[in-house]
């Protein structure tokens, strides 16, 4: 019987009082893809960091190919044949592909022979694994998908036969993700062992052979992928039954609330980010904007939210909104009935150092309801915040706690609660569930649908295609500052949307 490629026995790691990993054991057979799934903060990344020598485990043993191995640093991990592809790439942007590949694995003190060797080796790897990248291209000129290939090549160049990928598809288009999975498939055929860390159930189901579920620092179960279901995995992750599909009735759209005509946005570097888009959002419907990050969706939200200048026409309930100069700011937008849950809650939605109750009124703190003569009615705000936190199930329900001390999901609930509470006509909501755990996702999605059912208009921007497809009543796809097309979610699929997101209009083809 072959020894497992990796075997962890009783790994524990604590950061102060927080037990990040608790008595974790796992065994991965060579030539398989093993998924590790869990919510944010479940301890997946800590476990992999221990395996890659970033952290030292407090307790436990690591066996690589049956050999007990100490991994005090990354050097030792590389020597043991472990390669890691991080979520945020560890590449030098203004180096070439070749230079990045040899960095730390040079042969001798001079570069020339190392580069020549790497060039040959790269051609060989490209053929063997269908991993084509121009060796002389600068990293900063490569697409994200290609940068990821460079990371994989880096690991292979170091003779890794165990590859760990941390949330590899977070930054990829659906087409790029498919390509990545083909590569992983190929690596598996060649006998490599792959550990895939993700929070996306679909990826686990698509490609892994077996999967381990982590929750709150513990390994709750390890199962064969063929013998499980997404529902079962979600339940293991969260610890209770979770509704994966959003439960919603068909939309009954009413009057037009928001109308955008020929909107153009130029950023401070002089680059045109939004290139003349038109869209309409009506009462009682959710318009989802799909697209890979950086194609103008953020700018669209910022213009509507009142903190970026633009040209064009925007009307809200028939009244024209100023897009530039005086009057084009968040306060006047809120007065016009627009609420905004920004994409980056930590920078735009909250002040991390301030307490939850203070954050619960930001933007609306001028409201007479919060005043007590010249002073703010702190006691009143505190009581209201407490009530809000209870209703939105923010945990822990302590309004005096600073925003930074809440988990991502609970931070998001604080922001969503603040914005929804104002009873807006239009809710702008960007990346509502980025960095939010499954349990909270379910809750936030339900809030969005409820708001729609109350006859509000909702503009949803998300890079998660699943989210767009399950929430939206209409889907518009943005690419390169333009709307590539609009689709009915019932009559489209991921493939068609993926093509639109990559700038290819399926109708023309």
């Amino acid at each position: 019987m072959t020894a497992p490629a990796i075997e962890l026995k009783g790994i524990s790691k604590a950061f102060g009082p927080v037990q990040a990993n608790k008595d974790i054991s796992i065994s991965v057979m060579p030539g398989t893809i093993h998924g590790i799934i869990g919510e944010n903060g479940a301890g997946k990344s800590t476990l992999m960091s221990i395996l890659y020598g970033f952290y030292k485990a407090d307790k436990g043993e690591i066996f690589i190919k049956g050999q007990k191995t100490q991994i005090p640093d990354s050097q030792a991990a590389i020597a043991a044949g472990i390669g890691m592809v991080f979520q945020h790439f560890k590449l030098v942007e203004n180096f070439t592909v070749l230079e990045n590949i040899i960095l730390g694995a040079e042969d001798g003190g001079l570069l020339r022979p190392s580069l020549a060797k790497a060039r040959k080796e790269l051609a060989h790897l490209a053929k063997e694994y269908e991993l084509n990248v121009d060796p002389d291209a600068m990293i900063e000129n490569l697409s994200v998908g290609h940068q990821q290939r460079v990371e994989i090549l880096k690991a292979l160049y170091r003779q890794a036969d165990i590859l760990i990928l941390d949330e590899p598809t977070g930054v990829l288009t659906p087409a790029e993700a498919d390509q990545l999975f083909r590569i992983l498939d190929r690596l598996r055929e060649e006998g490599k062992t792959i550990i895939l860390i993700t929070h996306k159930l679909r990826e686990i189901m698509d490609i892994t052979d077996s999967v381990s579920v982590m929750r709150r620092g513990q390994m709750t179960d390890t199962v064969k992928t063929s013998e499980t279901s997404p529902e079962h995995l979600a339940e293991l992750m969260v610890g209770r039954k979770v509704l994966l599909r959003v439960d919603k009735k068909p939309a009954t759209p009413g009057d037009t609330v928001l109308e955008v005509r020929n909107l153009r946005v130029t950023d401070d570097k002089g680059v045109e980010r939004v290139k003349g888009i038109d869209l309409t959002v009506r009462r009682g419907e959710i318009l989802g904007i799909a697209g890979v990050a950086g194609n103008g969706q953020s700018e669209l939200l910022e213009v509507l939210g009142g903190y970026m200048n633009a040209t064009g026409d925007i009307t809200m309930n028939g009244a024209t909104l100023p897009l530039i100069g005086k009057g084009a700011h968040g306060k006047s937008r809120r007065a016009a009935g627009i609420a905004h849950v920004p994409e980056d809650r930590q920078r735009e939605g909250l002040i991390m150092e301030y307490a939850a109750w203070e954050n619960s009124v930001f933007g609306y703190h001028h409201d007479p309801a919060y005043q007590n003569g010249l002073l703010m009615d702190n006691a009143g705000i505190l009581a209201k915040a407490q009530e809000q936190m209870d209703r939105f199930d923010v945990r822990p329900p302590h309004p005096r706690l600073a925003a930074k001390n809440f988990s991502g999901g609970n931070q998001q609930k604080i922001v969503v609660a603040r914005e929804i509470e104002r009873n807006p006509d239009l809710l702008l909501i960007g990346q509502p569930t980025r960095g939010v755990d499954i349990g909270a996702i379910e809750f936030i999605h339900q809030q969005i649908v409820n708001l729609r059912d109350q006859g509000k208009a909702i503009l949803l921007v998300s890079v998660e295609l699943d989210e767009i497809m399950s929430l939206s009543d209409r889907i518009a796809v943005m690419f390169d500052g333009q709307i590539m097309g609009e689709r009915d979610p019932a009559q489209t699929d991921e493939k068609e949307l993926g093509l639109l997101m990559a700038g290819m209009n399926g109708e023309a083809a």
């Binding site: 970033f54 030098v92 203004n94």
Partner: protein, 322 residues
Amino acid sequence: MDFLSLVQLLDTTVRLATPLLLACLAGLYSERAGIFDIGLEGKMLAAAFFSAAFAYTTGSVWLGLLAGVGVSLLLSGIHGLASITFRGNQLISGLAITMLASGMTVLIAQDWFKQGGRTPQLEGAARFEPITLPFAEALKDVPILGPVYQELISGHPILVYIAFALVPLTWWVLYRTRFGLRLRAVGENPASVDTAGVSVVGLRFAAVMICGVLCGLAGAYLATALQAGFVKDMTAGRGYIALAALIFAKWRPWYALWATLLFGLFQALELRPDLIETVIGIKVQGQLLGALPYILTVVILAGFVGKAIPPRAGGEPYVKER
């Protein structure tokens, strides 16, 4: 302006550019590794004093040079400890070193030599003497080539030749060796170096120490070659001009040579206002020339002449993520 004046002006330029070049290359190693160093001035000053003091006491300029480099290395070590090991603010650490050097040199000089914070005049073997290159005398009378060789190329102290030789050497180290590749990488994205199994701390300390050696050379040159002894605040902002030159040079060795030569020329012209007057017919204030390096640097930073992109991880202590 006659030909000989021009050659003399360029000769002065070379002499004045040398400490700038050494300091600029010092800063280049440090900043390319991601450690900002505004303490170049302080290290040069400390090295200037200790090299002069030891050269005077021992009568050997070489022992003086060793002492200068030694103290500069010590200060570099402090900067490294503060900014690499303890992840402190690099600007504050650099500033502290400069202030420390500015005060301590005068204090110790007064205590040791009782000459009002200066060292005694250096003579003979306690100074770097000009080196006459072969055939300088013989070629003296050859038109054009003769004076250029004899005045401009020959007749400098050894440190000048070392400084100029360091330019191609630095280029070669940065772009042709493993050490250079890693050094540049650690200044751009230390995480890439760390995950490749190479020590970020080790690389950055190596860079900071090279910076120390070069600052030591620059300081020793000031006190034992350009001048004959240490006087209070004798670096006179050269450390900052070198930093300006580094930005002007976009953190590249060959550009650093041209930038420091240009700034050296300004300093040379400051000494010879009569030359400018004869050439352009207008009297130019010396202060204006002294300010030119800074003005040019601001122009560069404002993006008028291409873009100066500093090393991306510059100034940021490296903290391992997750």
